[in-house]
């Protein structure tokens, strides 16, 4: 019984993620698209929980929903007048883009279905182990220390660059 409930919740999260992602790319109002993106990000966080990545799920909610999504909404409010809230789409481009992305999806699904190495890799039911301690050790003590420092420098550079680009130019 426990297993069927788990499966049910998994498919719920999967359906939620895909349906809201579909809304992100089809809804005409950009504010509605932003809120659909929020649901997608929550759905992906739920899938991380199913993959036993607890720290990553919390990070996803904090950074994406709390940070990037608010940034996107700020961008919408600062750049879109009432007219530009509606997203303009051309029919020819819609057909071409839809064809290309559908072909890409078919290619990916064919590869996934025809790779024998990936078949029958199911949840082995190992007990859940918290990952936060191990992630801290890997980032601060072991072989991910250098990428961690590089990432912090990158964030500093991006922060200064973004502030410099977006500030109003002061003419003497």
């Amino acid at each position: 019984m426990d297993f069927t409930l788990k499966t049910f919740i998994f498919y719920g999260f999967a359906l939620l993620t895909i349906a809201s992602a579909l809304a992100v790319v089809t809804v005409r109002n950009i504010v509605h698209a932003a809120f659909a993106l929020m649901v997608t990000l929550f759905g992906v966080a739920g899938l991380y929980v199913f993959l036993q990545a607890d720290f990553l799920a919390a990070t996803q909610v904090i950074v994406y929903v709390g940070g990037i999504l608010v940034l996107i909404l700020f961008g919408v409010m600062m750049t879109s007048g009432r007219l530009e809230m509606r997203i303009h789409i051309e029919r020819g481009q819609l057909l071409l883009g839809g064809g290309i992305s559908l072909a890409l999806l078919m290619l990916l699904l064919t590869v996934i279905a025809n790779t024998p190495k990936w078949e029958n890799l199911t949840d082995d039911g190992t007990a859940f182990a918290p990952t936060t301690k191990r992630i801290g050790e890997l980032i601060l003590k072991e072989h991910f220390l250098l990428p961690f420092e590089v990432a912090s420098v990158l964030l500093l550079v991006a922060l200064i660059g973004a502030a410099l680009i977006s500030r109003k130019e002061v003419r003497e």
Binding site: A21, L47, L51, A53, W118, L155
Partner: protein, 102 residues
């Protein structure tokens, strides 16, 4: 739940992101498509780390954390550029920003 379930979800998210990037005429919608693509990549990393490597190896999760860091930096710079473009052109439709077009 097998690895293939996660791979299929991730493939669908990826193609929806590509669709948004190709068809949307608003720079912020394109950013949303890019976020979908980055999320599908992270989901793949975590799924492979869970199912293919031994359970105590969580390198894939670390890579996904770095992916989130990169997405945050990218979103900040992207929106700064959008603000600058809006101030210069009065619009954020990518096809109207064509100063370099010959």
């Amino acid at each position: 739940m097998s690895l293939q379930h996660y791979l299929v979800i991730s493939a669908i998210l990826f193609s929806l992101g590509i669709f948004a990037v190709l068809t949307r005429k608003n720079a912020i919608s394109i950013l949303m498509g890019i976020e979908l693509i980055l999320n599908s990549c992270n989901l793949n990393f975590v799924a492979f780390s869970r199912f293919v490597t031994p359970p105590e190896n969580i390198d894939g999760q670390i890579i996904a954390i770095f992916g989130i860091v990169l997405a945050a930096a990218e979103a900040a710079v992207f929106l700064a550029i959008i603000l600058a473009i809006y101030r210069e052109f009065g619009s954020i439709r990518p096809d109207e920003v064509d100063t370099l077009k010959g």
